[in-house]
């Protein structure tokens, strides 16, 4: 851990929040991709049967 | 006796429109209101539904006996057909909506948003609402507007089933519904002189 001095709170919170936001958007992207894909597969299956 | 109207006069926008109307509806009755445009059919139905007070006469009906169907359908554009109907079923505290959907051939459309219906499909949904009110007296204002012949038939069937089950219906319309019914021509009751009760203070 580097010595951050009196600005530790600022720097750490900047990194913390930014990483949290990046993780959030990545997660949202992946989850929605998965959900839509499942629904599409179901619709394709229905179409294949019908 | 489900509804008794006695010597009723009513006004629209401050102008007396109809006067001295009397009629009765017993279980099984269908009464068709006729009259040219502007003769006061809508006014009469609104009065009977309790939305505006009569200027004279009496309306006798049990509390909550009348289900009103207006020119406008009261549909929410962003709700689906089933959601619209389920809402009204909830408000009236009645049960399922399946019978109503089936009666107006809406089962196919039940997940469609109301805004994506054609004019006639919207109207059918508006009429299906009557079935979930569970009320004995239907007061309907030109229910068959925009309906095709087949749908008018569905409507007539619904009315027949309703009155056969002990209900009654009061229907304002310009077309022939193919129902056995009595007819009341409101143009015979056109208000002639301003009824005093209204503006009497200024006359």
């Amino acid at each position: 851990m580097p010595e951050l001095g009196k600005y530790a709170v600022w720097v750490l919170s900047a990194y913390g929040v930014s990483l949290a936001l990046i993780v959030a958007i990545v997660l949202q992207t992946v989850l929605r991709a998965r959900r839509v894909r499942e629904r599409l597969d179901k619709a394709e299956a229905r179409r294949g049967n019908g | 006796m489900l509804l008794r109207v006695h010597d009723l006069s009513c006004a629209r926008g401050g102008v007396p429109v109809l006067e001295r109307l009397s009629f009765e509806l017993s279980p099984g009755d269908v009464l068709v209101l006729r009259g040219p445009n502007g003769s006061g059919k809508t006014t009469l139905l609104r009065t009977i539904a309790g939305l505006q007070p009569p200027i004279a006469g009496r309306i006798e009906a049990e509390d909550g006996a009348v289900a009103y169907g207006a020119h406008a359908d009261g549909l929410k554009a962003t709700l689906s057909v089933a959601e619209n109907l389920r809402f009204w079923a909830g408000v009236y505290g009645t049960g399922g909506i399946d019978a109503a959907l089936a009666a107006f051939d809406l089962v196919q459309l039940q997940d469609r948003q109301a805004q994506n219906l054609s004019a006639g499909q919207k109207r059918r949904l508006g009429l299906a609402r009557l079935l979930v009110t569970g009320r004995p007296v239907w007061a309907l204002d030109e229910p068959t507007v925009s309906l095709d012949v087949a749908s008018v038939g569905l409507f007539a069937d619904a009315v027949r089933a309703h009155v056969a089950g002990g209900g009654a219906a009061l229907i304002a319309t310009h077309i022939d519904l193919g129902l056995e019914s009595r007819v009341l021509d409101v143009s015979a009751h056109r208000a002639v002189a301003p009824v005093d009760a209204l503006d009497e203070a200024f006359l």
Binding site: - | Y68, G74, V91
Partner: protein, 218 residues
């Protein structure tokens, strides 16, 4: 009744993101003020409580005319008035739905906007508390105003005109509570007064609003 509430919520969410938008408007109003007033931070901090409350009030105000107007136009209100639910209950439910879609998110988001306006740290708690106590009154008063003006085309502005005077006491006590809190003084008196207003409106206005609706439907 609960049906009505959940329908209104669904409608608010479906119709272009109910929650998000009320909030966004609050955000924008609070952001506009520094643009207009200039960026002197000390001065901003001093006027922050007032501006935040005015912003919340305007954000509520903007969505008021939708409380009954849409239902009136498509005929649902006629049908609701003839349905077996008391009109007073309808009014309550509609006001509640309005609060949940505007007042509640505003309350939760207010601290962030306090940051933008440089509110003193001691004020945040009071800000949230005062909004939580005051916004229900805003919704209820708004429902009353909306009931009075329903059916008047372009009732929107008339509505604002009728409602704003009734909003003034809530605004005064709310802003007072926050600015006292921010400067470290005791802020309980204005808060109690405000809570009293809220209770009073909730107890009385549903009846007045229902009466107004009945007249307007005639």
């Amino acid at each position: 009744m609960i049906r009505l509430f959940s329908r209104d919520l669904t409608l608010a969410v479906r119709a272009g993101g109910g929650f998000g938008l009320g909030l966004a408007f609050f955000l924008i109003v609070t952001v506009l003020v520094p643009f207009g007033v200039g960026a002197d931070t000390a001065q901003l901090g001093r006027i922050a409580p007032g501006i935040l409350w005015v912003g919340a009030l305007l954000a509520c105000l903007l969505s008021l005319d939708r409380i009954f107007q849409l239902d009136f136009e498509d005929g649902s209100l006629d049908l609701l008035a003839t349905a077996p639910v008391p009109l007073e209950g309808v009014v309550m439910m509609k006001a509640l739905a309005h609060w949940v879609t505007t007042g509640l998110p505003l309350t939760l988001a207010a601290p962030v906007l306090g940051l933008l306006l440089n509110l003193a740290p001691a004020g945040y708690g009071w800000l949230v508390l005062s909004l939580a106590l005051g916004t229900p009154a805003l919704s209820m008063i708004g429902a009353f105003g909306a009931a009075l003006t329903v059916g008047l085309k372009r009732g929107g502005l008339l509505l604002s005109l009728l409602v704003l005077p009734l909003y003034v006491p809530t605004l005064i006590f709310g802003a007072e509570a926050v600015s006292r809190g921010a400067s470290g003084q005791a802020a309980t008196t204005p808060l109690i007064l405000m809570a009293a207003i809220t209770l009073g409106t909730l107890a009385l206005l549903p009846f007045a609003a229902a009466a107004a609706l009945r007249i307007n439907l005639r």
